[in-house]
């Protein structure tokens, strides 16, 4: 019997077989949201009416014998950074309170086209800046494994919705790890595809050259199914890749890594990594060896500059991308008393509408782009980016995919790093190089750390436009681990009582 604990693939089969309707499935998830979201706070907006209308539509089409896509009728949680026509889109910021986009992002258009039921918009760090969702203007999301801990960020809402069985599928966006780090700390799967694989049209930009939307789910196969729905060339996005989407579903089902070389990145382990994280990571490597892969060690010497360069490029682009939030056309407007000048209203609105982290990054980026500093900061950071790409090229010459722990630690406590931005930034040390080079990467669970019983993420990086490789390795590793444990990781998650 299908229920909210099933995988999206199982739900898809049940819908096709007619043992459940999309309306029933959608109602089960809406009920779960009603039951647990007061504790988890994964959603900023639950779109009950539209979701049920979409579900009814899919059911009617299925009844009339129309050919439907694999995920038609399966519910999904959408990160609140993607524009959906007529539905509030806040990016976790007060600045956009009340804004309802007059258009659909390409990702949303593709989801609708495929009949995927959008349950609502999930919580996130304001404008995707953060690693804990604590920077949301609407309050943090709680990790379903331990409600006193962070669910990761910026896409903590999407990951927590999966882990608390509020949705079997979710969309995230990843600028420096915002899909993978939340997946890692919630025991779910998250994929950042190759830059340009999924259209950015309608994704409210944080850092345009790094942002990438991607699929999130509880299994590698579900993630692959969603990947094939949202990926593909889009003429509305100049940076979109005009090439066929790799066969990621077939790759996820391959369950074979014989002869593949798996490169362990020397710089992404060791000092600064929690011992339980390293232990589970190494155990997962053993499983890959047992499955027939060859492990090689690779070195990426420039990775040590990645974090610093990222914190110049991302804020620089953000300072420009966020300039449009000036209260003149949409969203929040503060201090417009008929006497204040346009400039004063802009100032007051931005003062009140942006949170501390967003302001910090706008100031950082404005400074880095200023005349006289540009070459030293933004210019040097771009050079580091080129070096990172070369590091990856050299590493991929020795290995088919690269692997590392997704994060140095398991989920930390809410409030623990709020006053220490650098400690917060360090959480993304292993995920950031991927965005800087524009390649694809996945995080999947590889166990619970013995010392705290919290999920550990395993990161697989594949060369640009070869996203199928990480799905092949991820699918194989997942099957081996589930086989070893005799159950899925999420079957150990504490049951939320509901209030």
């Amino acid at each position: 019997m299908t229920n909210i604990h099933s995988t999206a693939a199982q739900m898809s089969d049940a819908l096709s077989a007619g043992t459940i309707t999309s309306v029933e499935l959608t109602e089960q998830h809406l009920d779960q949201i009603t039951k647990v979201d007061k504790q988890v706070h994964a959603f900023l907006h639950v779109d009950r009416e539209n979701a049920l209308a979409q579900a009814r539509d899919v059911d009617a089409k299925r009844k009339s014998g129309q050919k439907l896509s694999a995920l038609a009728g399966v519910p999904l949680a959408l990160k609140d950074v993607l524009a959906q026509k007529g539905v509030p889109t806040t990016c976790g910021s007060k600045m956009l309170e009340g804004w309802r986009p007059p258009y659909d992002s390409t990702v949303v258009a593709k989801l609708k086209q495929a009949g995927v039921v959008i349950l609502g918009k999930t919580n996130m760090d304001e404008f995707a800046m953060g690693s804990s969702t604590e920077n949301s203007a609407y309050g943090p999301t709680h990790n379903p494994w331990d409600l006193t801990r962070i669910p990761g960020g910026s896409g903590g809402g999407s990951a927590a919705a999966l882990a608390s069985f509020e949705a079997p599928l979710a969309i995230g966006t990843d600028t420096g790890g915002s899909i993978r780090q939340p997946a890692a700390v919630t025991g779910t799967v998250g994929v950042k595809p190759t830059y340009g694989a999924v259209s950015r049209y309608g994704l409210v930009a944080f850092s345009s050259s790094l942002d990438q939307a991607g699929p999130c789910a509880r299994t590698v196969l579900d993630t692959a199914l969603l990947h094939e729905v949202i990926a593909g060339y889009d003429q509305m996005d100049s940076t979109s890749i005009n090439a066929p989407v790799p066969q990621v579903v077939a790759a996820a089902k391959k369950l074979d890594v014989k002869g593949l070389k798996i490169g362990v990145v020397k710089e992404l382990s060791g000092q600064g990594y929690q011992s339980g994280v390293l232990q589970r990571f190494n155990e997962a490597l053993d499983e890959l060896v047992k499955a027939g892969a060859e492990i090689v060690e690779v070195s990426c010497p420039n990775f040590e500059y990645a974090l610093a360069a990222y914190y110049l490029i991302a804020p620089s682009e953000a300072s420009s991308n966020l300039a449009r939030f000036d209260s003149m056309r949409y969203g929040l407007r503060v201090g417009d008393d008929g006497k204040a000048s346009a400039e004063e209203v802009m100032n007051l609105t931005r003062h009140e509408g942006f949170g501390a982290e967003v302001k910090r990054r706008i100031i950082l980026g404005t400074y880095a782009l200023s005349s006289g500093y540009y070459d030293a900061y933004y210019g040097s950071a771009q050079k580091v980016r080129t070096l990172l790409i070369r590091d990856y090229q050299a590493a991929f010459a020795k290995a088919d995919v690269l692997v590392s722990p997704t994060c140095p630690t398991t989920a930390f406590k809410l409030g623990e790093n709020v006053d220490n931005p650098v400690a917060m930034y360090l959480n993304d040390i292993a995920t950031i190089p991927v965005n800087m080079a524009g390649i694809g990467a996945m995080s999947l669970p590889c166990g619970l750390a013995p010392e705290d019983g919290l999920p550990v993420g395993f990161q697989i990086m594949s060369p640009a436009m070869k996203d199928d490789l990480m799905y092949q390795v991820g699918g194989t590793l997942e099957a081996a681990l589930v086989n070893k444990w005799g159950k899925t990781l999420l079957s150990d998650i504490p049951v939320l009582a509901g209030k």
Partner: protein, 499 residues
């Protein structure tokens, strides 16, 4: 004592720099599909992209790139194999994104020149203006500040914003500094802008209407002591909106700056506004504290990398240069300078050329278009070419040349064609405007004319040939102008014994 212009240019040498902004006449905007039609209802030609809504992305208009390359080729520029857009960051309510997407240090065309001709005391002289670059950018929206005394944002009661213009493609053509023009700087500036306008019109890439703002010129000017070889501080006079104003702005700035220098004041590097009534300029915003636009490469757009074969195809499509064509036509038609100038200024060169190519004699084609047709057009306040086609005018002229129409009849035919009575032939038919050359009919009219003025007839008989004029006039009058005047003269003189 105040220096006059003539005195100023003896002591000081002016250095010019000209920046011309041209609105391209593409059907859609620079980065979206919105229409570009002039004068539409405010904010009706907008979309998420040109409104800069969160999440929207630009895509470059291929036609705008083609137009820019054509301009570059016509100006003898190198077409950059790789050029990029950048973001120019500043805040203003009519800037939807609070940055302008513009080419900056990597423009599409560089290093060209334009040879112009100027009138000097020694006759016409060639002068080469070197082009630094041609780059693409987008226009901003339009603000209308209501209330207040100045019509500017400060002190206004409220402002109205129209984003129809936001995103209209602009090309900026920037000269290198132009030294050596000496006292002819005003003529050089005017000749350059005139020649540029004619070239752009011949390329068909812009309406180049300075009055409507589709072509705007900024005049940079500095002075240095004659012979010093130094470069003075420049002023930038904005939005000079006619060819005559370009010339006057240079004169005005030479006088203003030289008189400041004479009294020991320094020139402030600033933006100035041209005052149409006085020919002087008033200060705008000071550029001393140079605004920091924090340019950086636009991450939402891929670089422009034009195909070499495409560039060569476009080069092959370049029309004859307007000034060369004028020279050629002037020689072919043997037209004096002054008349050629009025033909060019009246914008009737194309239609006259077409009329001649259809068989009309050049002098007649010129005089009919500049004379009768222009007069009728002025009465109706429309363009001459909108009244009648070159084919109709050519037909009429051919009939005049073959003696089938007199000038007077021809005027009636043209009136008839304009009134929509049909082709020239049809009007002649319907109105019965054939020249009377039948000997019998003419002799009757001649005899009655002689009978009416026997004294005049007698004077002709006795050898006073010029007196025949009065009799010929009477015949023409009695035949309603349809008589062939030459024929009348011949018959009359013969009849009176003078043939």
């Amino acid at each position: 004592m105040t220096l006059t212009y003539d005195q100023a240019v003896i002591k000081y040498e002016p250095t010019l720099g000209l920046e011309v902004h041209v609105e391209l006449n593409t059907k859609s905007k620079m980065f979206c599909g919105c229409a570009t039609e002039f004068g539409a209802e405010p904010n009706t030609q907008t979309c998420p992209i040109c409104l800069g809504l969160p999440g929207a992305l630009p895509v470059v208009n291929g036609r705008a790139i083609e137009s820019s390359i054509l301009i570059g080729l016509a100006l003898n520029c190198q077409i950059a194999p790789f050029s990029r857009f950048a973001r120019k960051n500043y805040f203003y309510p009519d800037m939807p994104k609070n940055f302008q997407t513009s080419q900056y240090d990597e423009p599409i065309c560089v290093n060209g020149y334009l040879d112009v001709e100027i009138d000097t005391d020694e006759g016409k002289m060639p002068f080469r203006v070197e082009i630094e670059r041609v780059h693409m950018e987008e226009d901003t929206g339009k603000s209308l500040h209501v209330g207040g005394e100045t019509g500017r944002i400060h002190g206004a009661d409220y402002s109205l914003l129209d984003y129809n213009r936001a995103g209209i493609p602009l090309v900026e053509i920037v000269t290198k500094i132009i030294p050596g023009a000496k006292k002819y700087a005003p003529q050089v500036a005017r000749a350059y802008v005139t020649e540029l306008r004619d070239i752009l019109r011949s390329l068909g890439v812009s309406d180049v209407k300075m009055e409507q703002g589709s072509m705007r010129c900024d005049v940079n000017l500095s002075l240095a002591l004659a012979g010093s070889g130094a470069l003075g501080t420049r002023s930038e006079t904005k939005n000079v909106n006619s060819l005559r104003s370009v010339e006057r702005a240079v004169i005005g700035e030479v006088i203003r700056q030289s008189n400041r220098l004479e009294t020991g004041e320094r020139i402030i590097q600033e933006t100035r506004h041209f005052l149409e009534e006085s020919g002087q300029t008033r200060p705008g915003r000071s550029k001393e504290q140079a605004e920091d636009y924090r340019y950086f490469p636009e991450p939402d757009l891929v670089p422009v990398v034009p195909d070499t074969a495409w560039i060569e195809t476009l080069r092959g499509q370049l029309p004859e240069r307007p000034s060369a064509r004028r020279k050629r036509l002037q020689a072919e038609w043997s037209v004096p300078d002054k008349e050629m100038d009025s033909l060019v200024n009246s914008e009737l060169l194309d239609v006259v050329e077409e009329t001649i190519s259809l068989g009309a004699e050049p002098a007649r084609a010129r005089s009919w278009w500049l004379g009768e047709v222009s007069r009728l057009a002025n009465e109706r306040e429309v363009a001459p070419t909108s009244l009648i086609t070159a084919a109709s005018v050519a037909e009429v002229i051919v009939l005049i040349e073959s003696g089938e129409l007199t000038d007077k009849l021809a005027r009636q035919v043209i009136e008839g064609v304009i009134a929509g009575e049909g082709s020239a032939k049809e009007v002649i038919e319907k109105r019965g405007l054939k020249v009377v050359s039948d000997d019998g009919a003419l002799m009757k009219a001649i005899e009655s004319a002689i009978a009416a003025s026997p004294d005049t007839a007698q004077r002709v008989r006795s050898g006073n040939i010029p007196a025949a004029g009065a009799l010929i006039g009477a015949v023409m009058k009695s035949t309603g102008g349809q008589a062939d005047a030459a024929k009348v003269r011949e018959l009359l003189l013969k009849h009176l014994g003078q043939g």
